[in-house]
């Protein structure tokens, strides 16, 4: 299982990348995609939608089951990864490239974990 040093994480298995200028990219981790198994659909919000800290902003359908994706921030969606929306298997193949949404205007945040802390979370699951 891959955990990337340069990213931040949530205990609910999302990763966060700081793109600068107050914009953040959000995806799901290698651990999460591996637990879900073959991913076939992803339901994402629309540009301009508000997402709320610790609330689901979308869901991921694998062959096995559906899982919510939780937002690490209260913020505004400024971009959706259309490629992933049309080809969700990219999340299995390259979880750290296959970002889901980008957000801005962050007003609140969960406590983010660094790579080592997140690694420990995974080891306890």
């Amino acid at each position: 299982m891959e955990v990337r040093e340069e990213l931040k994480y949530t205990a609910t298995h999302e990763w966060v990348k700081d793109l600068g200028d107050g914009v953040y990219e959000i995806g799901i981790t290698d651990f999460a995609q591996s637990e879900l198994g073959d991913i076939v659909f992803v339901n994402l919000p629309e540009v301009g939608d508000e997402v709320v800290k610790e609330e689901a902003f979308g869901d991921i359908e694998s062959v096995k089951a559906v899982s919510d994706i939780y937002s690490p921030f209260s913020a505004t969606v400024c971009e959706i990864n259309e490629e992933v929306a049309d080809g969700a298997e990219a999340i299995n193949n390259t979880p750290y490239e296959a970002w889901l949404i980008r957000v801005e205007n962050v007003t609140d945040s969960v406590e983010l974990l660094d790579a080592q802390q997140y690694q420990e979370v995974c080891e306890h699951e």
């Binding site: 198994g37 073959d38 076939v40 659909f41 339901n43 869901d59 359908e61 062959v63 096995k64 559906v66």
Partner: protein, 352 residues
């Protein structure tokens, strides 16, 4: 506490992701995943541990009369060495279980039932037996491997010439690598293939023999997507103590020219019908999702998944017979209404 099958160590060795299912610890998938396993069975050959299934022996002068009374299908004209699918119903026509009946010879039958219903079935049958009949639950002594896919025959041919030629027939006491097997040309995937019944002591060695021939192990996840594409019912979904087989597109297996438990109710024209749906909106409908036509709720999803063969989400649903005449439906999935179109079952049929 869940039971382990005799293949448990093999599943761990093969990297199976173990989950509790019907009282057993079984692999839901191996490292390559459900889609890979599904396609392997459709295009080549795969194998499943189905040792959790229950097996009963029914013998004696009145065995046939008891089967005909307990079960919806008729066994009167059945020949030795053949297998028949049947349903077992309550007097109100709802379902105790669905099962396979193997006829070894006159007065000697093997019944194969669902793991989750095994004890319930045994009690129900025992309570309704009459006459001269021996009835025994041998589930704990029997293991089972399902070898499924277009290349299944070429695998078995490497071990024996004693192969059941017809679908739903079997050969008893076949030697596979020196192990005694009941070799049945049956399955739950919509593909050609076999189910191998053997002693618990032999099953790990048999599994290893098949692994050595390049057969890939497959888990419960692929078993479900495969049977769903093949339109096959699963107890607890398309059949249950609230669903009659006559409502679930299984009337072929109900023989009204004989007497049996539930006959009176099953002779009536059903008010509901099982149909196949293909989702045209993005998303997957799962069991229990309500099905609508316009504003009106007309039924519910019994099973739904992503069909790897069609590359679309599919579902089976039980809807009112009036609604079943129409083609356009909506399914409520997590608060959203997804469009779905009716399609003939099964979703997938192999080229013979």
């Amino acid at each position: 506490m869940e039971k382990k099958t005799a293949l448990y160590e093999m599943h761990e060795k093969c990297g199976g992701k173990i989950v509790p299912f019907a009282g057993y610890l079984l692999p839901v998938q191996y490292p390559k995943g459900i889609l890979h396993e599904h396609r392997t069975v459709r295009e080549h050959v795969g194998m499943f541990d189905v040792s959790h299934m229950g097996e009963f022996i029914m013998k004696g002068k009145d065995a046939l009369a008891n089967l005909n009374n307990l079960l919806t299908n008729s066994f009167t004209t059945m020949k030795d060495g053949f297998v028949r699918y049947t349903i077992m119903c309550y007097p109100d026509g709802t379902t105790v279980d669905d099962l396979l009946v193997y006829k070894r010879k006159d007065e000697d039958y093997l019944l194969v039932v669902n793991a989750s219903n095994c004890e319930k079935d045994f009690r129900w049958m025992q309570e309704h037996l009459f006459g001269e009949v021996e009835f025994e639950n041998i589930s704990d002594q029997v293991s089972q491997i399902a070898l499924q896919g277009p290349e299944a025959v070429s695998i078995i041919e490497q071990f024996t010439d004693d192969i059941p030629a017809k679908n739903y027939s079997f050969r008893d006491n076949v030697s596979i690598g020196g192990y005694n097997v009941l070799l049945s040309r049956t399955g739950y995937t919509g593909e050609d293939g076999f189910e191998l019944y053997c002693r618990n002591e032999d099953v790990a060695a048999l599994w290893q023999l098949l692994l050595d021939k390049g057969v890939e192990p497959c888990g419960l996840g692929a078993r479900d997507t495969l049977r769903l594409e093949a339109g096959m019912p699963l107890y607890g979904h398309e059949l249950s103590d609230a669903i009659k087989p006559s409502e679930s597109a299984l009337s072929f297996f109900i023989k009204l020219d004989k007497d049996f438990i539930g006959k009176e109710e099953l002779a009536k024209t059903p008010e509901r019908k099982r149909i196949g749906l293909i989702l045209t909106d993005r998303g997957i409908a799962r069991e229990h999702c309500p099905v609508f036509q316009g504003e009106k709720e007309v039924g519910f999803v019994t099973s739904g998944t992503f069909s790897p063969t069609l590359n679309k989400a599919v579902a089976m649903a039980i809807v009112s017979v009036e609604a079943a005449e129409e083609n356009e439906f909506e399914i409520e999935v997590r608060g959203r209404h997804l469009k779905a179109e009716k399609t003939a079952l099964p979703f997938y049929k192999r080229n013979k």
